[in-house]
Amino acid sequence: MSDFIKHPVVSLPDRAPEPVFSKKELVFTEAEKEQIETFRAQYPTPESAVMKTLWLAQEKFGFLPPEVIRLAADTLGIPFSLAYGVATFYTQYYKAQQGKYVLDVCTCFSCQLCGGYDMVRYLEEKLDIREGETTEDGLFTIQGVECLGACGTAPMLQVTNGPYVHNLSREKLDALIDALKAGKKPPFVSVTLPQDEDDLGGNRRSDAEATEVGQTPPAAETFE
């Protein structure tokens, strides 16, 4: 999240953009259409299924250029403007192409106090880009984001709207970047409840791919 108040400029979206995807690419498969039908059936109005359909479209196309939003709207039979207004309201919908891995580093509240900004700065240095930018090889985008709801394992980040990476440290970021470069996405990590450590001697989920426990957070060096 760049510092909006320092540069409070809202730019006009390209009003007649060249489509990123060709007409041929711009289709949902039968299976996807069926899935969208399922979404529709979950609500009394087709408009209500727009968020799930946009999610599906983003997973398929990687991001939501206007033609993809239109495809989603047309598939549901709802006005394009409605889908576009929704897509621009919610921050997790990517309106522009992002890096293959979007590193959403929480800097809010608890993470701020526990070194969230240290992690952002370290990533910026390591990847040689600024917050909000994407590396030249198109692999990484760094974003400072608002509270992700994992305050007990601050500082933390989320990879491309997917897995959480907890208890961040510089070493952990190094390992994460190496793994991502090697194409290995982090697993779902089950954070063990402190009381489970005491009562059960560890994580209760036997199906957990990986577990971690909340750690005494580091002292933050930079607040902002």
């Binding site: 999240m1 108040i5 409070p8 979950q42 609500y43 009394p44 109005t45 408009e47 209500s48 727009v50 968020m51 799930k52 946009l54 999610w55 709802i78 409605l82 207004g85 929704v86 309201f89 919610y90 921050t91 997790q92 919908y93 809010c108 509240f109 608890s110 701020q112 106090l113 526990c114 608002e146 509270c147 709801g149 994992a150 305050c151 007990g152 601050a154 989320q158 709207n161 997917g162 897995p163 959480y164 089950s190 954070v191 409840l193 402190p194 009381q195 489970d196 009562d199 059960l200 209760r204 989920r205 036997s206 199906d207 426990v213 909340g214 005494t216 957070p217 002292a219 607040f223 902002e224």
Partner: protein
């Protein structure tokens, strides 16, 4: 576990909490699995309300009222009372629950633990509430960032449908009720109950004016009750153990088990289940291992970013329940407690909080859209050493200009921390201000 914890004096000022046995997240391996949950008496409460004659919908609501359960989403509204606001069933008019799992309040991370470790308690709670209010469908709103947890819950929910515990003719009875998980996409405002409804309807999440309240006109104009995930997870406990038991746990006027999320500068952060009414000092010192590195405590925010910050000298004897916290000058909120040690820069802290609200204001109505940005500008200027004492006055005036004048409570939530942080740490703010408004930068 059957005994009333802290029952005699309604306060957590003794060491009784040490023997507390968890009920929301009981220590059972793989409880998140349907089989394990059922194996441990899960869905018995649902079976009871659906099959036993004494559990009419009205009786379930009465029991919920009697239990004293108050909403765990932040406002602390009595749950049974809220349920009773639903109008009588009208043929052809669907009724809904919107279960709030948006959990975007900074410092709050407890509902996620329920989704991860005991999702069936949430589902069972939803279905009991559905019975109590004769609900056709529940939309369980989960923030988009919790994609992994949504995936897990979707598969457990599918299982629930397969086994006949949700959907048509639940447990072979005449009662049918659906559960749909609605995935958010990144907007704090969706935690506000009416903007959550807008979001479920597939719109830009602008809060609605009240009245009409959701019970009159909620989802798609139909009667709707909005309850937090943890709130509904309490419903099976009330059925299984009785309203009296529930009412006897923790603080007298704000009873029940609660998930405390403790984060920030403590040795052992995390989510802890204890009764309400715990001493804040106990939570920090005894539960979470104390302030990290032996540092001194400076301040806490007891229930998420919106509630007023308390100085260390203000928490002596204060317990985690609505009444005690109100007396102390704060609120229970989500029980997501942020702990700050002596090295914390309160101006920087507030700067980050104001930035959060500026970023998350939906922009629908004027005082919040414009005020949150103005406030962030002022606090930033002060933090950067360019502010003046006049700026502090303006900040407090802006809080008055925003509070109580908007469609929803986001402006209030943005104003409270500003007012209270400045009032309670004024010398820190003054120290950063230029001393004369005439000084040249």
């Amino acid at each position: 576990m059957e005994m009333a914890l802290f029952g005699d004096n309604g306060s957590g000022k003794t060491d009784a909490w040490r023997s507390y046995e968890r009920v929301l997240l009981p220590p059972v391996r793989d409880l998140h699995r349907f089989d394990t949950y059922v194996g441990h008496g899960g869905y018995e409460a649902l079976r009871a309300v659906l099959t036993r004659e004494e559990w009419t919908p009205g009786k379930v609501i009465e029991a919920t009222k009697a239990s004293g359960l108050r909403g765990r989403g932040g406002a602390g509204f009595p749950t049974g009372l809220k349920w009773s606001f639903m109008p009588p069933v009208e043929p052809g008019k669907p009724r809904y629950i919107a279960c709030n799992g948006d959990e975007s309040e900074p410092g709050t991370f407890k509902d996620r633990q329920l989704m991860e470790y005991n999702p069936h308690l949430v589902f069972e709670g939803i279905l009991i509430a559905a019975w109590a209010m004769q609900i056709d469908a529940t939309y369980l709103y989960v923030r988009g960032e919790y994609a992994d947890w949504i995936r897990h819950m979707e598969s457990e929910l599918a299982m629930l449908y397969d086994k006949g515990y949700a959907g048509k003719r639940i447990l072979g009875t005449d009662f049918s009720s659906d559960i749909v998980i609605h995935k958010g996409a990144g907007a704090y405002i969706c935690g506000e109950e009416t903007s959550l409804l807008e979001s479920v309807e597939g719109k830009r999440a602008y809060p609605r004016i009240k009245p009409p309240f959701p019970a009159q006109k909620g989802l798609w104009g139909c009667p709707t009750t909005v309850n937090n995930v943890e709130t509904l997870a309490c419903a099976p406990l009330i059925i299984n153990r009785g309203a009296e038991w529930f009412a006897g746990v923790g603080a007298e006027k704000h009873p029940g088990p609660v998930l405390y999320g403790i984060s920030g500068h403590v040795e052992r952060p995390g989510v802890y289940e204890y009764p309400t009414g715990m001493l804040i000092t106990d939570l920090i010192e005894k539960v979470a291992g104390g302030v990290r590195g032996g540092k001194k405590l400076k301040a806490i925010v007891p229930g998420g970013a919106s509630v007023p910050v308390l100085r260390a000298d203000m928490i002596e004897g204060v317990t985690m329940d609505a009444e005690s916290l109100r007396e102390a000058g704060s609120m229970m909120g989500t029980a997501g407690m942020l702990v700050m040690d002596e090295d914390t820069d309160m101006v920087k802290f507030l700067r980050r909080v104001t930035r959060f609200y500026h970023h998350e204001s939906c922009g629908q109505c004027t005082p919040c859209r414009e005020g949150t940005g103005w406030i962030e500008n002022l606090v930033t200027r002060i933090d950067e050493g360019q502010g003046t004492l006049r700026d502090l006055d303006i900040l407090l005036e802006l809080c008055d200009q925003m509070e109580g004048r908007t469609v929803c409570a986001l402006a209030d939530a943005a104003a409270w921390p500003v007012r209270n942080t400045i009032q309670r740490f004024r010398e820190e703010f003054e120290a950063k201000c230029r001393q004369s408004i005439y000084a040249v930068a």
